[in-house]
Point group: C3
Chain length 156, copies 3
């Protein structure tokens, strides 16, 4: 703790969840050189899916945005673990991948993934602006509404 980014979290009252344990033979993050790869994160709160369902059928854009933001919080929880607890090592958010569970006529996946994108810029400022994609998919694990993976640059 103690970095400008951690202070930013605190000042904005943003509390990160515990990094979720993967449900399979994989891990929450890997590091290669200065690059951190974060596994696809679901909208988990206290270990339970906070937003389940399909955009354009069960859920509207506001709930999708909220799901995107919670995915983003889980991404940051994994990232903090990858940084040994010190978000001050983060140099740049490089890329987010956004998958939204949709009915086929729902074309606003970007508005849902914005929940994660806005969070990155809130927490990291200029270093938070990132490349990304946003697409609508047929289903997500356990019925989640949104899944977000991420790539970051950190200091060694």
């Amino acid at each position: 703790m103690g970095s400008a980014f951690d202070s930013q979290l605190e000042a904005q009252g943003i509390v990160l969840p515990l990094a979720a344990a993967p449900v399979g033979n994989y891990v929450g993050w890997t590091i290669s050189g200065n690059t951190v790869f974060i596994s696809g994160q679901l909208p988990l709160e206290d270990g339970k899916l906070a937003v389940k369902g399909r955009l354009g059928a069960d859920l509207g854009v506001e709930e999708g945005y909220r799901a995107g933001r919670i995915c983003g919080l889980n991404v940051l929880a994994q990232l903090r673990a990858a940084c040994g607890g010190d978000l001050g090592r983060v140099v740049k958010v490089l890329r987010l991948g956004g998958f939204v569970c949709v009915a086929p006529d729902f074309v606003d996946a970007p508005k849902c993934v914005n929940g994660a994108s806005d969070l990155m810029v809130e927490v990291f400022g200029d270093a938070g602006s990132h490349a990304r994609f946003a697409v609508g998919v047929a289903s997500l694990p356990a019925g989640a509404a949104v899944e977000v993976d991420a790539t970051f640059e950190i200091r060694p």
Copy 2:
């Protein structure tokens, strides 16, 4: 301008669009070391979607291929901006990610993404051959037919 790759564009009469402004709290590209990450690009011409709809329902493979190519042109526009206007800094096309909006029985996503892949090889020659994936998804932003993201290696 002035690099072999720029000459190649000109010789083939390929005109790149303006790099599209992202519609959210993200950017068209990020750079980490020698790696450029390009955001998912839609088939935009003059700021409007040139190819909308669903492959296997509203659209056939030829239109999908055309959509893939226009996505590729938008990828190159972002890449040129990332390189400060000089495509001569490009070392290698590393990877394309291709998402195609499909009816569930349409299994020719690769033939659509080929529009972007062929463009990379036209412009960059051997340096244009790349790893990629191609998948069929339920929906894309604003009803786009294809979305392509990309990763490149450049010189500093």
Copy 3:
């Protein structure tokens, strides 16, 4: 041959397929520095799709897991080619991307992608644990049940 990882393959009776030739203007893998990008691999055996169809409609989880594992074998075949035949150059599995062809109410894509994840840990041990995503998509090339792409760190 001769590395610990190759011995591991042999000891477990795992035989890699030939690296599949891409069906388009792309390649099976690219390298940038120490990073290898592997193209999305289908569940091919002897050049034919071994597992076709849709999870939650034509196929159950066991068949999905098997498809995931065969995709993983094809990933390793490409990786070995990228390493000039010597898997001993592999430092780390960084990331898998898992796409599963689903009926919309099938929410167990992770259980299918586990087929590839488990294989990585079998072959590479601790170096095999990786970041990943798993999503359900509307269609995959040629009717494949699963597609897996991958990123690895290798020694020069």
